[in-house]
């Protein structure tokens, strides 16, 4: 059987800290095992670059984004007949599709926020609800050993872990409003708030200490030993940290309007619409057996993201169905 031809157009490839880049790379990895893959990335200069397992084709983007297809910036032309996967379906990416008259065999990863008028089919990244529907679960690795030893910076476990919602480099010593509400409502509980690579422990409305979170393993340790994880602003594509927490059996609480609410839909936690509801839904999860039940369901659900081979199989089925 011949392999399908897949073209990935990625604007996020080099933004290593973004979740979109993580998912795009994960998807490219899976596609490379079951398809003939070409990756085009938006760049400041042209040429071909070895990037990990991939030889990516750099396309020099102008101020309007992707250049037109007849431009000399395209050292290789993307095949019009191949399956296109676009990470950021922006106006310029859609213009590219339109110039080829390409309507079929297109999938997107991110949402079409700057081109809402043209909704392209997105890759479904949660378990499909029906047998016929096809979805792709990007492999979300965690180190199970992180569950064996707690983070040495704190001398306690069973805390409420909060990934905060502020941008930039805020001083973690001044809590985000949600953390202030949480430590006031759950006075006797440790609230560990993580932002910008630092974790601040609050208890009884007072700061108890701040530690650095140097590595992903540090973060996993904090996930693994939390009683509940509250993600105030989950990742926009899959809510990666939420999946990681679920993989350690830590229930999650996430905004109702976030992508991560999909994960909660299968029982691994709760959603909220505002801070008042956050305090309300969190309370039962701090006690057994509600926490235990959510933990178990979350673990079962997160299996969807736990196996790289299954990820490749899902990608193969997805591409065959197009």
């Amino acid at each position: 059987m011949t392999q399908p031809d897949v073209t990935i157009l990625s604007a996020s490839w080099k933004r290593r800290e973004s979740e979109l880049a993580y998912v795009t790379r994960s998807l490219a990895g899976a596609a490379s095992r079951c398809a003939a893959l070409t990756v085009f990335i938006k760049s400041d200069s042209g040429g071909i670059e070895a990037d990990g397992a991939f030889d990516v084709v750099r396309i020099q983007a102008g101020e309007h984004g992707w250049p037109e297809l007849d431009s000399t910036h395209w050292s290789q032309r993307p095949s019009a007949s191949s399956i296109w996967i676009i990470d950021e379906p922006s106006q310029d990416a859609i213009a590219l599709l339109d110039s080829l008259g390409k309507e079929n065999k297109v999938l997107t990863i991110g949402s079409s926020e700057d081109a809402p008028s043209r909704s392209l089919p997105r890759v479904l990244m949660t378990p499909a609800s029906s047998e016929n529907a096809r979805s792709f679960g990007p492999y979300v690795p965690v180190n199970p050993l992180a569950g064996a030893h707690r983070h040495t910076g704190f001398g306690f476990t069973g805390y409420i872990l909060v990934l905060t919602d502020r941008s930039g480099n805020p001083p973690v010593e001044h809590p985000t409003p949600s953390v202030a509400w949480l430590t006031s409502r759950f006075y006797g509980e440790y609230i560990v708030a993580i932002e910008d690579g630092r974790a601040a422990a609050w208890k009884g409305r007072a700061l108890r200490g701040v530690i650095d979170v140097h590595t992903r393993t540090d973060l996993w340790r904090l996930f693994a030993h939390a009683r509940v994880m509250v993600d105030l602003r989950p990742g926009p594509v899959i809510g990666r940290e939420c999946i990681e927490a679920l993989r350690f059996g830590t229930p999650i609480v996430v905004p109702a309007n976030s992508v991560a609410a999909e994960h909660v839909g299968h029982g691994g936690g709760r959603t909220y619409e505002d801070v008042g509801e956050l305090l309300e839904v969190l309370e039962p999860l701090l006690h057994e057996p509600a926490r235990e039940a959510a933990s178990r369901r979350g673990l079962e659900y997160a299996d969807f993201y736990a196996d790289p081979r299954s990820s490749v199989d899902q990608m193969a089925r997805l591409l065959q169905g197009m």
Partner: protein, 133 residues
């Protein structure tokens, strides 16, 4: 939530570990031991030593020097201060526990009340809370 978030405390309200009683402090024990050694009959096995000790104790009782009297007063005063310190430290410990309990219950209950007020406000404005649906 539109309300201002609660203010944080500058210091934890946790009650500290109770202070060890001052009257059991090593310096106090030593003071009493030395005082007793000098003012009580010797418990030495030798008859001569016991006799000398008893004679010294009797002499001190019958005609204490000014220094002896002064030292006796100092020891009693130190004892009284230590007892009072222990009473105060016990009261402080109890007070810290009460303060922590008060801060805890006030914080949790006021936060809950503020949440309920917010829900009612939303309800009155016709935007029901999702958990009401």
């Amino acid at each position: 939530m539109e309300q201002e978030p609660p203010r944080m405390f500058r210091m934890p309200t946790d009650p500290p570990e109770p202070l060890p009683p001052l009257s059991a402090d090593e310096s106090m024990v030593r003071l009493h031991r030395e005082w007793a050694r000098n003012h009580e009959p010797s418990r030495s096995a030798h008859f001569g030593s016991r006799l000398r000790g008893r004679a010294r104790a009797v002499r001190l009782r019958l005609s204490p020097t000014i220094t002896d009297r002064y030292m006796g007063d100092v020891v009693r005063a130190v004892d009284a201060i230590a007892r009072r310190c222990d009473e105060l430290s016990e009261r402080l410990t109890r007070l810290s526990v009460v303060t922590d309990d008060l801060a805890r219950s006030a914080s949790e209950e006021v936060t809950e009340l503020r949440t309920i007020i917010e829900q009612l406000r939303r309800h009155n404005q016709g935007t029901p809370h999702s958990s009401d649906r």
